[in-house]
Amino acid sequence: MRRTPWIGLALLLLLGLVPKYTSAEQMWSVEGAGDITSISAIEDGRVAIGSHGSKAVVFDQDGREQFGKEANNVVNAVDLLEDGLLLVASDDRHLYAYDGSGKTLWDIDMKRQVKSVSASDDGSVIAVTVQRNNDLLFINKENGEQSGSVPIGTSMKTAKVSGNGQWIVAATADQFLHLLDKDGKELRKFGAGGQIQSVALSDDGDTIVGTSDGKIELYDSDGKRLRSFGVRTTVSAVVFSRDGKNIGAADLAGNFYIFDRGGKELWETKDGQAGRAVEFSPDGKTLYAGTDDGRILKLDVSSVVAKAKSEARTRILLWALGVVVVAAVVLLILRSMKKRGKLGVFRDIWRAKWIYLALAPSFALIFAFLYFPAFSGLFHSLYKWQPGGKTTFIGLDNFKRMVHDPYVTKGLGNLVILIVTGLIKSIIPPLIVAELVYHLRSKKLQYGFRTAFTASMVIPGVAGLLIWQNFYDPNLGLFNNFLQLIGLGSWAHGWLGDPKTALWALIFIGFPFVGILQLLVFYAGLLSIPGELIESARMDGASLPRIIRSIHLPLLSGQFKFLIILGLIGIIQDFNGILIVTAGGPMDSTYVPALQMYYAATKFNDLGYASALGVSMFAVILVITVINLKLIKSAEE
């Protein structure tokens, strides 16, 4: 039996329900390189890399270092041309060119930090962007002289030239893409869906953009967006395969991906803390992936893609098998039902078809908008949840994080205080008022007072909270003015501004705490106590306190239980008042877990963590409900 969980896990893996990682096939590393900023590969298998650690290195097809060059600052980009010419752009304000053996061909001082260099395969078009210059510069391959420039109008993040030199794209800091032809004539300008981190260009003029909010967008040469799909976090690099069919990408969480043009993920892997650069070999068979610790992974694309494909096939087979098994089971059940002559149930179902149709709207809403979110919450509490992007399975990390979240632990302490005081508030004052009203002789007065207490409903909840917030105002508030009026001006206080008093000020909201629901429940409970019971007790000489203690309170036990459960469930979930009046402050003094959940979702967009908090509170509430049901059962027995 020990093996069962493993078999189960293997099945889940095969069904693709649990994500998995494949590791790299081969790897080189560059000492002291830091981030790999750029990779460039050419037909004969040579690869050039540029690194944050000021190094530019060329490897031959066997991964041996052919030559390495050291700049005086960060190497921002390298580009290796078909003839072996290496272009290096560096923050030391120089643009360098080396020939295939590492001999310096030219070295131009650009006066400003050179942010990117990109060239067509033959070097006929070389486009360069430099810091604080709104022009795209063209460089002559032979001598490094500037051969022309195109004004773009805003500062650029990067620019790319397609391999055949027909297209040039410049990405600006204000999220626009400028598509130029090979002569530098601007063809089109279009906006991307987010902060542009990286662009790539195919020979057909298709552009892909990686944005800081984890989206990869594919545009055609008319600037029309064809596709947009997500990865886990900020995209640090995107690249087209030479034939424009596949897209490689890296994100800052260390994930590397291969997508097809349709946005379908073919393969992914994770290595290192952050991915920095990706490049396809010209034949499209190898993907070079650069990490933030100076390593370059050499990944055999065809085999990993083939593997992913075969796994997908297995998956489809398994699903098909599952469907067949389910169908067989259904058939078997039907056969056995027929044998026992129970097929009449289908006739009944058919006869009741209008009933089902009438129930359909109700249940459609129930499933879509109540059950679905509930299960979605349970499910996503185990994920790093990014709607529209990539959702990653992280096991119990969200729950572990909760335990170490100081806001949650502080919030739990506050919640205990709120629960204790809240239950007292919701039981004792309404009970006293119900008793007082009940003991009025005049029916008219009873009705009048009941109505008067109900009248507090006319203020919308939020307006009531805002009025109370105003009561606590240090200068214009009712409390401090009242204290001054009765000569206790020295006690005046910024009640909500002081971490010591803020929580208690919140608790005091609603004084004298005569809740309408609670009052009505107790009052109805008292009215339902048979009059004879009290008459006979009175004849036996029982005093009023005695009657309350021995008759009223025991007979109201159902009401107590109901209000306590309702109160508990309500208080755990409620953060309305806190959100409006103090927003959790000052500092963390009025946090509760539900508020932290709300903030996790709205302020930090951390939906998985918010779901995990919701699930934890749900678990607590479930336990309370179950205990309550058990108690009711035992009371009935």
Binding site: D348, I349, I355, A358, L359, P361, S362, F363, L365, I366, L370, F372, P373, A374, S376, G377, L378, W385, P387, L440, R441, F453, T454, A455, S456, M457, V458, I459, P460, V462, A463, G464, L466, I467, N475, L476, N481, P512, V514, I516, L520, V521, A524, F562, I569, Q573, F575, N576, L579, I580, Y598, A601, L607, S611, G614, V615, M617, F618, I621, T625
Partner: protein, 277 residues
């Protein structure tokens, strides 16, 4: 004299105690009404006094800034509550009077929803509505009201309708009335009291809702009154306390109407809900 004698000391004490508690309970309302007619200077200089002269212009200014929120919310509340009434009366009737395969199972599915607290579904619901593009539209309020409110509504209607005499429906059916006619012409008219209760409970619920619209509606033109009250100071630069209080007072008017004309149903809903659940 006779009446005075019959009210003994104990009764007097109870009345006085209750009167004090009512006063304390209603202090926010009184304070709101008085302050809504003051200017900032009057609030600072004459905190405890009545407004003199009364600044009725506060109300005009407040109305100008919040009328849209007010209208939005009333429309959402009515639309949502009507949906709830329609769904609950139909579903409640079927569960009360019909037999069909799977009835117990389906009813259990409804019952089970009561175990799911709002705190679990809040964030996933938000994502769901956002993904299907309902955020920033009235539907995000109306649909969520209809989906959530019908559970409570179905229970109320089911209990109430099981009490209606089945013979009545039988007689109508023998007279040739279709099922739809029986429902619309007999069941619904007889259930009007419980439907009124449902309508009032749901409307008050939507009217007071704060977190859900805050989360799902960003567009100020679509916003509801609860959120509107918290943002209108920032939005319109209203720094006059008097105007703020006037806005709170105006926002109380729909509830005041419900309280005046439907209190009976409201109280019924509160107590019945408590007993049924």
């Amino acid at each position: 004299m006779h009446i005075l004698k019959s009210i003994n000391v104990r009764q007097l004490v109870i009345v006085l105690l209750l009167a004090l508690l009512v006063f304390l309970t209603l202090v926010p309302i009184l304070f709101m009404v008085v302050s809504s007619l003051k200017s900032n200077a009057q609030i600072i200089g004459n905190f405890w006094g009545l407004p003199s002269p009364a600044r009725w212009s506060n109300y005009g200014e407040a109305l100008r800034t919040i009328w849209r929120y007010l209208v939005n919310t009333v429309v959402y509340a009515v639309a949502g509550s009507v949906c709830v009434m329609a769904l609950s009366s139909l579903t409640g009737y079927i569960f009360a009077k019909k037999t069909f395969p799977g009835k117990d199972f389906l009813f259990l599915m409804m019952l089970a929803i009561m175990m799911i607290p709002g705190v679990l579904t809040l964030i996933p619901s938000y994502v769901l509505y956002k993904n299907i593009g309902l955020t920033d539209t009235p539907w995000v309020i109306i649909v969520s009201c209809a989906a959530g409110g019908q559970i409570f509504g179905t229970f109320l209607c089911r209990t109430f309708m099981s009490g209606l005499p089945s013979e009545l429906f039988e007689a109508a059916r023998i007279d040739g009335a279709t099922e739809a006619r029986v429902f619309l012409r007999i069941v619904v008219p007889l259930s009007l009291p419980i439907l009124a209760t449902l309508f009032i409970m749901q409307s008050v619920g939507v009217y007071n809702d704060y977190i859900w619209p805050l989360l799902t509606i960003q567009d100020s033109h679509m916003q509801v009154i609860s959120v509107g009250l918290t943002i209108f100071t920032k939005q319109f630069g209203v720094t006059d306390k008097g105007t703020q209080f006037a806005a709170y007072a105006i926002s109380s008017l729909p509830l005041l109407l419900i309280f005046s004309f439907g209190m009976k149903y409201y109280i019924q809903g509160m107590t019945q809900g408590a007993l049924k659940l």
